[in-house]
Symmetry: C2
Subunit: 203 residues, 2 copies
């Protein structure tokens, strides 16, 4: 019953759906189990139920496939953050909900989250860096922080710099928590997010 079935081809001129299926399969691979290195072209093809060479119908090579997955992960995270903020009552609540959501995303999807930062960008051309999806996330933080900060006077840091502190702090917290000895209890991470916001919004 496990006889390798030939996939029913998409309708003529409708090859696109498979591309999405491949990305979804790759994403599933990251959530279910297995290490990030396990995101091999062949493993993805297996997960998608297609032959390995079929991947080349939609992606130039493995690195392009991985890049597509990374973009999808970023987009999903950004959407989560926007949604979390929209369910808040006031700006500070919005910032806190965003921060919690960020932590939860990372904690619940450790492999997906890791992948976002695993691809070395150092060799990427400048133009590609400019449109990196990280910039969208960066802007989300700055917006949310600006909404909380009234006029704080010249001795206070700008919202942009506070946003950098916030994102760095959250990333550091979840990265340490994910990569190092940790318990399934995610309260420490939320506590740290609280501390961080407390410090950044302090008068």
């Amino acid at each position: 019953m496990d006889k390798p079935k030939r996939r029913v081809p998409n309708r003529w001129g409708e090859g696109k759906p498979l591309r999405a299926e491949i990305v979804v399969a790759a994403s599933r691979l990251l959530s279910d189990s297995g290490r990030v290195e396990g995101l091999s072209l062949r493993a993805v093809a297996r997960e998608a139920g297609i032959a390995a060479p079929s991947v080349y119908l939609h992606f130039k090579d493995r690195s392009e496939l991985v890049a597509a997955v990374v973009r999808e992960v970023y987009a999903g995270l950004a959407a989560d953050l926007v949604r979390a903020r929209s369910q808040a009552q006031d700006p500070e609540d919005g910032l806190r909900k965003m921060a919690y959501q960020y932590c939860d995303f990372a904690v619940e999807n450790p492999r997906r989250y890791r992948l976002m930062f695993e691809v070395e960008q150092s060799e990427a051309p400048a133009e590609e860096r400019a449109i990196h999806p990280m910039n969208e996330v960066r802007n989300l933080w700055t917006d949310a922080l600006s909404a909380c900060l009234g006029d704080r006077g010249p001795k206070s840091l700008s919202p942009g710099r506070k946003a950098a502190l916030l994102w760095s702090g959250l990333h550091g917290a979840v990265a340490l928590w994910t990569a190092l000895p940790y318990s399934p209890d995610r309260r420490p991470v939320h506590d740290l997010a609280d501390d961080l916001i407390f410090e950044l919004l302090a008068k």
Copy 2:
């Protein structure tokens, strides 16, 4: 001239030196170039100038070799931090010098630094987690912060929690800087460290 020379064996009963040589070779592999995944047993053996099976004379398997390298990297970082602090005039200067040194270590040895957090610890037994070298680093931060903070009153965070914020913030900063679009200019990272200390030591 490239004829594969047989290594001159260590003196009888003195097999230990090779173990250190292997770890050094692995560390060299991480600094020179290549990705972290490139830390394969065979690559390390090549770098050390020995045959692949010789590694098994000193390590049970590949994972034990990698663990040894990780420990060495942690020890090196901790030593750097202690040295940096010892060259300072006053506590706050010491904290700042430590923070800078931390950033510089990560920025100058991105692959070494990554390796520290790359090994998934989730399956590690509790006892092994307790002696994880990260704890030494954690204590270094708490000490340095305690020395800077006088009595801050009950509304202020404890040194331990501020240490968590500091480390998370620094790790987040260098991790984002290392993994994402970045310029060779490391000033942004130092600036963020300054901002972070500014916030944490604010009265």
